[in-house]
Symmetry: C2
Subunit: 302 residues, 2 copies
């Protein structure tokens, strides 16, 4: 089952205490699309400028990502520059230039409007709603968000929640959104705002999946060295949705597996800058790490 | 297999934003002993003053805890008073009065010295070593510690690590002890200091078990309302050791189960002040919540 993904596409400059790289492929839709592409065909909706490197278009294509919904506009691609502190837990945005992204108001190619699965990666909830409104009969819709939209676009975000099946957000966003310090209360409160499922990403502590009659706690992969945390959450949600689209079945069991697949792909993402690690991995590596997740969280009954 | 537990016994005054209670039964050995008593007979080593309430001695006895190693000294019982902030994540010590605890230098009753399993609950590493030196041939030794000993008794603590099988400590203590921000690095570094096993307690995020060839990530029980977090870590480690003593078998599988049993008992502990919840629960309630842990962390392979 094909998957429509929209979000940002960016050229990133990322600095860690150890390394610094310019003009990396970035943006929520880039991370999510590559992550999802291991599981299902992806139709990408986004915008880039005329400066967007050909090699990145080729990377998308090499992963079977359909680019009919990718607008190449006159002007510069959205750019983001950020810096991580020594422990990589804190990130500081150095600069943001929206560039062509300011004009992003996509009309979906006709064949995209039949999408069964939709992942609305992190962009404004107004844009997420605009894209979603063009999809005729989606079976399952996942959305991500960020602190900025919780702060400046709360009403559109709450409207979005009433139209999607699953919200994915991180720990601090869940607390900020709900004003609850308990993540359990936060997750359940968001369920009350509309979506049938909520996934809270906790970084090194794994993730939590909430539904009315389901609670699942997934571990994080025990990485000693993280090279670049950028995009891990986008990869998580992209792989999660990609897995669900591939099995085309929403059950407690498929959702649990989807969360673990999201964790697996995110754990690879942070092993190198940008999408460099995801360019290399194979389905068998994903399967192998999935088995490690199984082993590290398994215990016998009784 | 019987279990020797030593640590502090205290009368606590605990204040949360919602409730306040005086003269509660507290101390690391009290929590650990009651938690362990669900799994195995406990021999308690500790000291109390002549003011120690008879009802608390009866509570120990009602749980089958042997008190031959409990010294009742002239003077007052160790007292601790603390206050939790509104979200219960931060604790402030209001007052500490060591009282009779200052003279604590126990000689074990003869029948205690044959202990197979030992849990050295949180007291100074010097005292932990003093008790341990009197046990003839322990099969498995677990110790807990706290930030204070990491700061003021690092050398005795490192000596202790060379004599025990398993160290249990919390997230912030592991980071402080090792100067590593990554818990994965921290856990592995402590393994290098002596113990075959390290367990890092992460509160709402569950716990991690490290060994040379074993990594296990256990979830936390999704509690919405915590009434009093005091003693949760002591209960965790007490139940963990109690479970191991009951099965008298150290394997990757028994250790995983022990960690989950620790999590189960700790999750009950925080549902009421002091040991009030643990006084009420039954083995079948422990078994039922163990099944919930299994369910909430289970996912299928492949």
């Amino acid at each position: 089952m094909s998957l429509l993904i929209t979000g940002s596409i960016a050229l990133d400059s990322v600095k860690t205490p150890v390394e610094e790289h310019q003009d990396l492929l970035g943006g929520s839709a880039s991370y999510a699309s590559l992550a999802a592409s291991f599981f299902t065909p992806v139709n990408l909706v986004g915008i880039v400028g005329s400066d967007f490197p050909q090699q990145y278009l080729e990377l998308y294509r090499s992963r079977g990502i359909n680019l009919d919904g990718l607008e190449v506009a006159a002007g510069k691609t959205f750019r983001w520059a950020g810096e991580y502190e020594w422990d990589l837990n804190k990130r500081r945005t150095i600069s943001v230039a929206l560039n062509v992204f300011e004009t992003f108001h996509p009309t979906l190619p006709a064949h995209y409007t039949n999408a069964g699965y939709v992942f609305l990666a992190n962009i404004s909830p107004q844009l997420q709603l605009h894209v979603l409104s063009q999809v005729k009969a989606p079976r399952f819709i996942v959305a991500d968000t960020m602190d900025l939209w919780i702060e400046i676009a709360r009403e559109p975000l709450l409207e979005l929640l009433r139209r999607i099946d699953c919200l994915v957000l991180n720990e601090s966003e869940a607390r900020e959104f709900t004003k609850e310090t308990s993540l359990i209360k936060a997750g359940r409160k968001i369920l009350g705002w509309g979506p049938k499922y909520v996934v809270i990403k906790k970084g090194e502590h794994g993730s939590l999946l909430f539904a009315e009659d389901l609670f699942f706690s997934a571990p994080a992969y025990p990485l000693e060295d993280i090279h670049d945390p950028t995009g891990a959450g986008d990869c998580f949600a992209g792989a999660l949705t990609g897995y669900l689209a591939s099995v085309d079945k929403i059950t407690p069991e498929s959702l649990r597996k989807a969360v673990v697949h999201g964790s697996v792909v995110a754990s690879y993402c942070v092993e190198a800058f940008s999408l460099k690690r995801l360019e290399q991995i194979t389905p068998s590596e994903i399967a192998a790490r999935y088995q490690i997740f199984k082993k590290m969280s398994h215990f016998e009954v009784g």
